[in-house]
């Protein structure tokens, strides 16, 4: 539920179009058809589009699933500043890129798909959507011992907190194996939870 973010779909569509352009371009160039140089163009354009569209933009509400390894391309795309943020620019860029591929049969499907992606981006732009890069969150260093109160020095069963007078040692491991405190268990204690 909630508002549809058209840019998300446009991004998927543009990425797919890039792949289709590459495939069509390979078929045309390998087959050495007439005007095969359009095929070569199509491969280059396809690669460029895939690289541009690979980093997914951040959703307005909620968390966004990143594509695998997209943070490298995010840095590059971010460098273009307003050109990469603005979806109007992307819409017209895709429209422009799609036109030359339309002259060759092998890539005409790629043209059509990219044109549709361009239309969806235009729709997204009119609704005021923008591409925002997904920034990696700075890792919070866990505060060692910040919220942990003095860990107990004896294994259970323990006397209540008031009776515990001994100062405890640092560390988060409470009991693992042989206890080093004053209490010695007559029977070895093992964790039977499987």
């Amino acid at each position: 539920m909630g508002q549809i973010e058209w840019a998300m779909w446009a991004n998927e569509q543009a990425l797919a179009s890039g792949l289709i352009l590459i495939t069509g371009g390979i078929v045309a160039t390998a087959g050495q058809f007439t005007q095969w140089y359009f095929g070569a163009y199509s491969i280059v354009a396809g690669v460029f589009i895939c690289l541009l569209e690979y980093p997914r933009g951040k959703r307005r509400k909620g968390s966004t699933m990143e594509r695998c390894g997209q943070k490298y391309m995010t840095k590059v795309v971010k460098l273009f500043g307003p050109l990469s943020r603005n979806y109007y620019f992307r819409a017209f860029l895709h429209l422009g890129l799609s036109v030359p591929a339309g002259f060759l049969l092998a890539t005409i499907l790629g043209t059509a798909c990219l044109a549709i992606a361009s239309v969806i981006y235009l729709l997204a732009a009119t609704r005021g959507e923008q591409w925002t890069p997904i920034e990696p969150k700075p890792k919070e260093r866990p505060q060692v011992g910040g919220t942990i109160k003095q860990p107990p020095s004896n294994p259970p069963p323990r006397p209540p907190a008031e009776a515990r007078k001994k100062p405890s040692e640092e560390g988060e491991e409470v009991v693992a194996g042989a206890p080093s405190g004053p209490q010695e268990n007559p029977i070895p204690v093992t964790d039977e939870v499987v």
Binding site: I4, M8, Q13, I20, T23, T34, L105, L109, I116, E192
Partner: protein, 537 residues
């Protein structure tokens, strides 16, 4: 153990047989087109691209036929309901219908890519002597419909990625309806009869084996009149007509069910933000463990949300417990006045539509003399229906059922969300003690999350009669259960019974329980045996 191997291997076998049929169709068609006499001259022009293209087209037809069947929800429920063919493991395959739908979709995508590339090669091939392939594409029926089909497929695929499904289900659902255009274009794709082979009459007159080497003498020689060709008639519609009609019926059924009246007989608002709805619908029959899909047109005309049924089949109503955990559920709770505001009489309750029930059932519990039911967290919901049903069968009915002992384990991190379930247990406890059947149900609640204050509170009230958290006679345990001890104790109590184990919760615990069942079942056929029923709800 045997059940598990059987279950997984059935899925694998199913996928392998689907792949096998695909390969068989591909290779069979390929060989036919490579060797068939009537296409001899076509092969001279097109080479083996003809056979490749036709083979992938046949695979496409096959997959397009299959793709609509797994999403006919009511058909699948109907098959599951009929006991003729569907027992146990087979029934579980039906629960994987969406996975199969996606698998077939991948098959269509692969075949479509192959076919598109081959046809491009075909059209561009200089020996085919097409002057302007692009014009050829855009002026023939086959070309235009082919482009439309490919575009429709790509749009469906890009809007069905997991990301889009999660962020905007409506976009996914609306765009998926482009399949209507897909199927119409597929049906008329062959209308241009572009694949041309020699007619049978011409084959009789024109001797290929002789004439192929004597092209210069064709018109002159008597054995070689000019061959006549005719286009192959469209065949895609023959493949997809059945499933399309079936799916159309499915949508009609869904619409009819949507129109059916659902009467809301009771609305209970629990303090933990849980809304309980009691409903009635004509000819509604359920079994414990099943779920229904609920739609509230006032909130969203498109969304159907699944809820496990929490009432027993013996009751004259069916109920669900809805927790306000997202946009839709919160809106539903608000609409029914669960947010604290007293519902005015003038404010009419929103209309609900119910589809179902779907899903696997827990009725196998009654086939064992002793059953262990283990629920973790939200997995407790199907057991609400089950426990009520056990109560009805064992205490209220005249006949003595086979089941005479139920062990119920509930492992929970935050019980406050399920205090309605604790109430249910309390009422069951009192009713059973009234009837003198307290030995029937033995339940154990395990709390796995607590803070220091709670711990102190619990420690202070340890010696009281009833449990401080739930108010039940049986005390709540803290921490996770020691399954080894539990299973050992139960095996000791019931030395020669078969014990059914039913679980609803996370996979990790499921693995543990399966292992326990294996460990504690005795090798002696007359000894105790634990049967793990792997049901996913």
């Amino acid at each position: 153990m045997g059940c598990w191997i059987l279950n997984e291997s059935l899925s694998v076998m199913f996928v392998l047989s689907w792949l096998g049929v695909n390969f068989y169709l591909f290779i069979d068609t390929f060989c036919w087109y490579e060797e068939e006499e009537s296409f001899f001259y076509t092969r001279v022009i097109l080479g083996s691209a003809l056979a490749w293209a036709r083979a992938s087209a046949v695979c496409l037809n096959f997959n397009c036929m299959l793709i609509l069947i797994p999403v006919s929800r009511n058909l699948i429920s109907f098959i599951r309901g009929s006991t003729i063919c569907c027992r146990g493991p087979w029934r579980r395959q039906l629960d994987k219908n969406l996975k199969f739908h996606k698998l077939v979709a991948y098959g269509i995508a692969v075949n479509a890519t192959l076919l598109d590339s081959l046809l491009t090669v075909n059209l561009e091939d200089p020996s085919n002597r097409i002057a302007n392939p692009t014009t050829e594409l855009l002026t023939t029926i086959a070309g235009i419909t082919g482009l439309v089909i490919s575009l429709a497929l790509i749009l469906i695929v890009t809007s069905s990625t997991e990301f889009i499904r999660q962020t905007s289900y409506e976009l996914f659902w609306y765009t998926h309806h482009i399949f209507i255009i897909f199927f119409i274009s597929l049906a008329i794709h062959g209308a241009g009869r572009m694949v041309r082979g020699q007619t049978p009459e011409s084959l009789l007159l024109h001797n290929i084996t002789f004439c192929r080497d004597h092209y210069a003498e064709w018109k002159a020689a008597a054995q070689c009149p000019v061959p006549q060709f005719s286009g192959k008639e469209p065949s895609a519609w023959k493949w997809v007509l059945g499933p399309v009609v079936l799916y159309a019926c499915e949508r009609v059924i869904r619409f009819w069910r949507f129109q059916q009246e659902v009467v809301i007989t009771k609305v209970i608002s629990h303090p933990s933000g849980v809304l309980e709805l009691h409903m009635k619908k004509r000819s509604f029959a359920m079994a414990p463990g099943q779920y229904i899909l609920i739609q509230c047109p006032a909130i969203s005309s498109l969304q159907w949300h699944p809820f496990t049924l929490t009432s027993a089949p013996e009751e004259d109503f069916f109920s669900v417990h809805v927790r306000a955990a997202g946009d839709w559920t919160r809106a539903l709770c608000e609409a029914f006045g669960a947010d604290g505001q007293a519902p005015e009489e003038s404010r009419s309750r929103p209309r609900l539509a119910v589809d179902g029930p779907f899903g696997a059932t827990l009725t196998d519990v009654f086939h064992y003399p002793v059953s262990m039911c283990i629920a973790a967290g939200i997995g407790v919901t199907p057991f609400a229906a089950l426990l009520k049903s056990i109560w009805y069968k064992c205490c209220e009915s005249q006949t003595q059922p086979k089941l005479n002992k139920v062990y119920f384990y509930w492992i929970c991190r935050d019980p406050s969300a399920f205090e309605w379930f604790a109430d249910l247990l309390l009422s069951l406890e009192t009713r059973m003690s009234e009837q003198g059947k307290t030995h029937l149900l033995s339940y154990h609640i395990f709390l796995t999350g607590w803070d220091e204050n709670q711990a102190i509170h619990i420690a202070l009230h340890w010696d009281e009669n009833t449990d401080v958290i739930t108010g039940l006679k049986q005390k709540t345990f803290y921490g996770r259960p020691n399954w080894n001890n539990e299973f050992r104790q139960i095996a000791y109590n019931h030395p020669s019974s078969s014990i059914g184990v039913f679980f609803c919760g996370p996979k990790a615990l499921s693995k543990t329980l399966r292992r326990m069942c294996r460990l504690h079942s005795s090798a002696d056929p007359r000894g105790v045996h634990f049967y793990y029923n792997k049901e996913s709800f």
